[in-house]
């Protein structure tokens, strides 16, 4: 039995099936496109992206997106930007390669930082590049180098660490001196004993008594008397030598006593170091007041730059990205860019029309241009650029991911616009800068990071929340800042992503630090007096006994030396007197 291979009668239903697919596309393409833009935009940005209307015309090759709203990934009730309309001219043929190439895009009615009524945050599964970039940006801002010592300035109180007497130099020196005094006393006593001064003196005195009964002709005895005198002299010489040693030793002990005074001065300094002060130097004040706001700005800049690097990587290696969400496992989709081919996404040229000062009575419109936004910069071959210039606005950015390492630099300056409020950390005080100038520069070369944020507000005002929250520090800061109507603020970021350094300064720094210093000055003096008294108490317990011991040792050794010398002198005089009596002044050989 022969079986036909092709079922020709099914050709008509097949055609109908294909026609059904085409009809479905025509009916639902706009809806599918809107969902695709919302989903992909949300996935890339890391915050909710909404589109009011999406209209695609493959015949004309253009797409119109109306009511585009991109939420901020950092503030749930703020939009990153809104756009009234995007009109894009699409290249149609690349669509067959699943590539989106937009020759020209016109964006009108762009507004930045507008408020929203519902949260723009989206739950993150942590697997996509955006989730990782967001996590990196958050951990970057949370590292210790960028944390503000809020509590110290907020409380403004002093604290004194415990004073351990074992760490006082006076105590150690006193104990050492006491030991030295004891050993010196023992050494001197032993030395005196070894001289046998008393024995010599007693022998000489006894010999003198023998001489009283001697005759002038007793020449042998007279010679022995002279030898005794020499022995006494030798003993006295040794005693003199010992006296010199004792004087040196006593001088050393006196030096030790003087050193105790110096040690006490050092202990005073050490104790003062235990008095921990709040950061009242001017640079610390700037950091405390405006550090979080600066970190917030730079964190955002870092996030968007890193996001660009994640989705616009340099090089032509295959790139992984999470597969589409579906009931089945998503897997990983891999891009295979090839030289001289089109990238997966390319926006050649975009004209931007945006508003600044949307919340003012007369918002101003500006124009800018965005070129070369692509998923494969190496294929496009040129950096992505953004520029907008007007008399009061200058924005320039260049994202060079053509080859590694990526080099990103962006800067903008806007003059005479309403500046957003800045809340002082841990204080119930808010700065409303009013109209002013603001500039932000940010550069990321490989891992090296540079940033500068500058705000000038000539008519700033301050608002304090009701109540007495914040304590004395808040009162003090409020007293200082509420009288200042001009703000000059500069924050500079340097270093690497892993080891950033942030310096913040403002015209408020010196004023606040002077006030703080005055406030804590009295407390500092009292605290220092307390720790000085503690040092004295610990030191006196050790020093007074040592001083007494040294004095006693000195007195004892001096007295003993005098007694010994006196005994020798007396004995010598007695012998010499008897010798003179026996010889009647004659000098015998």
């Amino acid at each position: 039995m022969k079986v036909a291979i092709v079922r020709w009668r099914a050709a008509v239903p097949l055609m109908l099936f294909l026609a059904l697919i085409v009809a479905t596309w025509l009916l639902f393409a706009d809806r599918v496109g809107r969902l695709a833009v919302e989903r992909s935009g949300t996935a890339v940005l890391g915050a909710r992206v909404d589109v009011r209307a999406f209209d695609i015309s493959l015949l004309r090759g253009n797409v119109t997106i109306s009511g585009f709203v991109a939420a901020s990934p950092f503030d749930s009730l703020e939009n990153l930007f809104e756009a009234d309309r995007f009109v894009a001219d699409l290249d149609l043929l690349p669509l067959l390669e699943k590539k989106v190439v937009i020759d020209r895009l016109a964006a009108t009615g762009l507004r930045f930082g507008t408020a929203r009524t519902t949260s723009g945050f989206v739950p993150s599964d942590g697997s996509g590049p955006t989730s990782q970039v967001l996590a990196n940006a958050r951990s970057w801002a949370a590292q210790p180098a960028l944390q503000v010592p809020v509590l110290q300035i907020a409380t403004g109180t002093l604290s004194i660490d415990s004073l351990d007497p074992r760490r006082l130099q006076t105590v150690a020196a006193a104990e050492s001196l006491a030991t030295r005094a004891d050993s010196s006393a023992r050494a001197w006593g032993d030395a005196l004993e070894s001289l046998d001064v008393q024995v010599t003196a007693d022998s000489a005195a006894a010999f003198a008594r023998r001489l009283q009964t001697a005759k002038p002709t007793d020449l042998g005895l007279i010679n022995e008397a002279r030898k005794m005198v020499d022995r006494v002299k030798q003993t006295r010489d040794r005693l003199t030598t010992l006296e010199r040693g004792v004087r040196a030793g006593v001088g050393s002990l006196d030096g030790g006593l003087a050193a105790l005074t110096s040690a006490r001065q050092r202990d005073y300094a050490f104790a003062r170091s235990l008095v921990r002060l709040p950061p009242i130097d001017a640079s610390a004040i700037g950091w405390v007041l405006f550090g979080p706001a600066a970190v917030h700005r730079f964190q955002r800049a870092l996030y968007y730059t890193q996001l660009g690097r994640a989705y616009m990587p340099p090089g032509l290696l295959p790139r992984e990205q999470p597969g589409p969400k579906r009931t089945r496992r998503s897997g990983v989709s891999v891009e295979f860019p090839r030289e001289r081919e089109l990238p997966g996404f390319l926006l050649r040229d975009a004209e931007l029309s945006f508003q600044l000062g949307a919340d003012s009575a007369v918002p101003r419109r500006y124009a800018g241009r965005f070129r070369g936004l692509t998923s494969a910069p190496a294929l496009y071959g040129r950096p992505t650029t953004l520029e907008a210039s007007a008399p009061s606005v200058a924005i320039d950015a260049q994202f060079d991911h053509v080859r590694a390492p990526a080099r990103d630099i962006a800067g903008g300056r806007v003059r005479d616009v309403m500046l957003p409020a800045i809340r002082l950390p841990s204080l119930p005080i808010r700065l409303a800068p009013g109209r002013g100038d603001v500039s932000l520069g940010f550069a990321l070369y490989g891992d090296s990071i540079r940033g500068r944020w500058h705000v000038t507000a000539p008519a700033a005002s301050w608002e304090r929340d009701s109540g007495t929250a914040g304590g004395p520090a808040a009162d003090l800061v409020w007293r200082v800042v509420s009288g200042i109507s001009q703000l000059e603020l500069t924050a500079e970021l340097s270093g690497t992503i892993g080891q950033p350094a942030l310096h913040v300064r403002s015209n408020l720094d010196q004023a606040v630090s002077d006030q703080l210093r005055a406030m804590v000055g009295e407390e500092v003096a009292a605290a220092e007096a307390r720790v000085r008294a503690m040092v004295d108490r610990f030191a006196d317990e050790q020093v007074a006994p040592v001083q007494a011991k040294v004095a006693r040792v000195k007195a004892e050794v001096t007295e003993r030396l005098q007694q010994q010398r006196q005994a020798l002198d007396t004995a010598q005089q007695q012998i010499e007197q008897q010798i003179r009596r026996l010889t009647r002044g004659l000098r015998l050989p």
Binding site: V3, P13, L96, S333, F336
Partner: protein, 173 residues
Amino acid sequence: MVLLKLLQSLFKALHSEGTPGQVAAGIALGSILGLTPLFNLHNLAIAGLILLFNVSVPGALLGWAMFVPLGFALDPLFEALGRQLLLETPALVPLWTSLANIPVIPLTNFNNTVVLGSLVFSLLAVVPIWLGGRWAVRRYRETIGQRVQQSAWYRALTASRLYGVYRLFRPDT
């Protein structure tokens, strides 16, 4: 309802006028639909083949229904296979790069690890499934097929409207 349709597919395939080879071919093509993620361009082509070629459409539906759970279960294997082919076999990168830059081909989502892994697996399994299916259908018809066809519940099952649609696509013998 789904179970009912599955049963209808099963018995209509087994008792259709098609030869065991036609039924098995339908099952084999339907297995591709079941093993790979459905909404991809290659499945449109497979559906076209099922309709156009003289294979058993109920067999294809049966194959699809049978292999969908298997597809879910084997997704980790498919992903590993796809990853191996797409990312861990440098010799194949030029091939993927070429395919990725040929019009229409990228619309198949072949560059997705699960899609590629499941497609390669299902293409490799087509012939064994066809051979096994043909043997199983033949054995069924030789043994219990006649009795099942004469049972009251089978007649009730085939009396539904779906059977009329099926007859439009039944294989020509």
